[in-house]
């Protein structure tokens, strides 16, 4: 097949690079939300421990 003209080839190249960028970004976003949940759980545990200590 002959080389595609730039305007047509651009769509394919853009699509490939968007996929390459989007998949890791989605992955990082999922991990970030998980880490956020863990941090809030740590804060809740800390609060419980402090409540327990002050209740003594």
């Amino acid at each position: 097949m002959p080389a595609l003209p730039l305007d047509e080839a651009g769509k394919y190249v853009a699509a490939a690079y968007v996929i390459f960028a989007v998949l890791p970004v989605i992955y990082v976003a999922i991990l970030a939300s998980k880490i956020g949940r863990l941090q809030s759980e740590v804060a809740r545990l800390l609060e419980l421990v402090r409540d327990e200590r002050s209740g003594r």
Binding site: M1, L4, A16, I19, L23, L31, R44, L45, E52
Partner: protein, 258 residues
Amino acid sequence: MTALRSNRLALLAAATACLLALALALVFFYAPLDADQGFVQKIFYVHVPSAIVALGGFVAAGVMGALYLRSGNPRWDLRSYVAIHLSVIFGCVVLATGSIWARASWGHWWLWDEPVLVSFLVIFLLYCVYYPLRYSIDDRERQARAASVFAITAGAFVPVNFIAVRLAESFTHPRVLSQTGGNMPGEMRLTFLVALAAVALLYVTLCRLEIAAKTLSAQLSELRRALESAHVGALPGGPRARRSQAPSTPAASTGAGG
């Protein structure tokens, strides 16, 4: 110690971002257009490095699986799990970008008679089996052992498959790492090597991020258990409440650090 590790992760992430930016600049402003394929050939700089890194990750996961079986240290099992997880994600990138390139270059999204494409799909599907295999076993030690054996066997299959494909006659897919296909001009070669380093660094950074998240999760579970058994009692949403439904991840059996 945790702050030091977090700083190192931030530095690694910054280095990855810089190297990716450099690679993109080289791809679009430095590397010449391919005489045969024109602008579409730019896909090469994400497709091939992603494939190399994904396959390297599968092999590395096998080595880590062997280290787990040898030492019994759950950290190796966690690393093996994370390496496979990320290689499967990079495998998705390879299949998607490869299909787009095939459509632009050959006029087809997929060619079933092309050994390079089909062999990569076989490897990808093989590793998709890893998850149901792993989570079908409840006992964590047995789960880690079975997963490690799988990682070693499948990891050994990757280079064998690679050699078999090299021996097969390819009609359409170009050979990148060979005498003929590897003869890239200097600018293209440099761009390719920088792109490969950037993708490899991205893989390592994401691996470390996931390992950090899983280690944090395991430490939190341990803390919960300790608090529960000490004096706080049954904590809301704690392991007592969740034990029946929580899937066993490799991090759950991993100690501190990672």
